[in-house]
């Protein structure tokens, strides 16, 4: 075999190796995983539907909706006379207990990562009256559209209040 032929064989070998390398790198590369359509659809609706459903729910002990109990929680926070004293608890504690009970049977049971908070704002100062979350769901994590439900306090109370639910993916 001449020197030129040996060089050609070398080149051919290099081409084969590069081709095989490319083949294996593409063939065994993990495809980029995007969340399934059902997850995207479910998560987008879940946060807002969850809050709407929660606030509409009637509590059998208080004989009031969760929305009414949330307004009473603001009254309690502002040290104003309250309307409900369910199970001898103030409205904020009772609201938190019911919310925890519902979350245990839903989002916690489905192993969702989330942050649920009840905010009250007056004169530019925002306060968290209630917060249920796990430390995993931070603002830096990818999230579905947040659910936001305002609670009308007018005309009884000043300021504004709202529930916010963030669900992390």
């Amino acid at each position: 075999m001449t020197k030129a032929q040996i060089e050609i064989m070398g080149l051919v070998l290099i081409v084969i190796l590069i081709t095989l390398g490319l083949f294996f790198s593409v063939a065994f590369k993990q495809p980029q995983t995007s969340p399934p359509i059902t997850t995207v659809y479910g998560d987008e609706k879940l946060a807002s539907d969850y809050l709407i459903t929660f606030l509409e729910t009637t509590d059998p002990v208080c004989q009031a909706t969760m929305r009414d109990i949330a307004i009473d929680c603001v009254r309690h926070h502002l040290s104003q006379p309250t309307r409900y004293h369910c199970e001898n608890k103030d409205s904020c504690t009772y609201l938190s207990d019911v919310l925890t009970h519902i979350l245990d049977k839903t989002l916690n049971d489905w192993h969702y990562s989330y942050k649920l908070a009840f905010y009250y704002e007056q004169g530019g100062t925002r306060e968290e009256l209630l917060i249920v979350d796990d430390t995993d769901c931070t603002e830096y994590k990818p999230q579905a559209a947040p659910g936001l439900q305002p609670i009308s306090l007018y005309p009884d109370l000043p300021g504004k209040a709202w529930f916010q639910l963030n669900i992390c993916r």
Binding site: M1, Q5, M9, V12, V15, I16, T19, L20, F23, V26, A27, P31, P36, I37, T38, Y41, G42, K45, L46, D49, Y50, I52, T53, F54, E56, T57, T58, D59, P60, T65, V98, H101, I102, K105, T106, W110
Partner: protein, 171 residues
């Protein structure tokens, strides 16, 4: 003496040609395997997407069923009447032929359950048709208020949609 020289050259050319052919065939096989694998992945992805879309379609149909909607004025769109849900469950058990004649076209192979979370704690099975074994399940959960028109109370409910589809696999 010139004959062996000629024979050697011809053999050398023949050898080169065979080598080139082998290399071309190897590259061809690699390209073909690669193409088949890519096509297979694309088809699998498309099938999964179709199943996902079917599940979403079933969820949308179930959550907007007119026969379950609250009839009380002023109630939000997202609301089921508990009595209507119980009546639908009764129809499914008492007259399955009539029930499935109508609802099979809508939901196909699926299970639709209404879970009462708070204050009640039970399940109302609205639809259940699991045709066979070896099926994959796509699951969707939609929170929905369940209104009881008898005492004007609302329960926290979850509409669970489980859509079945045939198990796929490469033999």
């Amino acid at each position: 003496m010139p004959l062996p020289v000629l024979k050697n050259k011809a053999q050398l050319h023949m050898g080169e040609t065979i080598m080139v052919l082998i290399i071309v065939v190897i590259i061809g096989i690699v390209a073909f395997v690669f193409y088949v694998r890519m096509t297979e992945d694309k088809i699998q992805g498309k099938l999964i997407e179709i199943e996902e879309l079917n599940a979403v379609e079933t969820a949308q149909l179930a959550s907007s069923l007119y026969e379950l909607r609250c009839s009380k004025p002023g109630v939000t769109d997202l609301c089921f009447d508990i009595h209507k849900a119980l009546a639908l469950q009764d129809l499914r058990t008492t007259n399955p032929t009539l029930f499935f004649t109508y609802y099979y076209d809508l939901f196909g192979d699926a299970k639709i359950t209404l879970q009462r979370i708070y204050p009640a704690d039970d399940d109302i099975i609205l639809y259940d048709n699991n045709a066979g074994t070896q099926q994959t399940v796509k699951r969707l959960a939609i929170p929905v208020p369940l209104h009881n028109s008898s005492d004007d109370t609302t329960t926290f409910g979850i509409l669970i949609i489980e859509k079945y589809s045939q198990q796929r696999g490469i033999p």
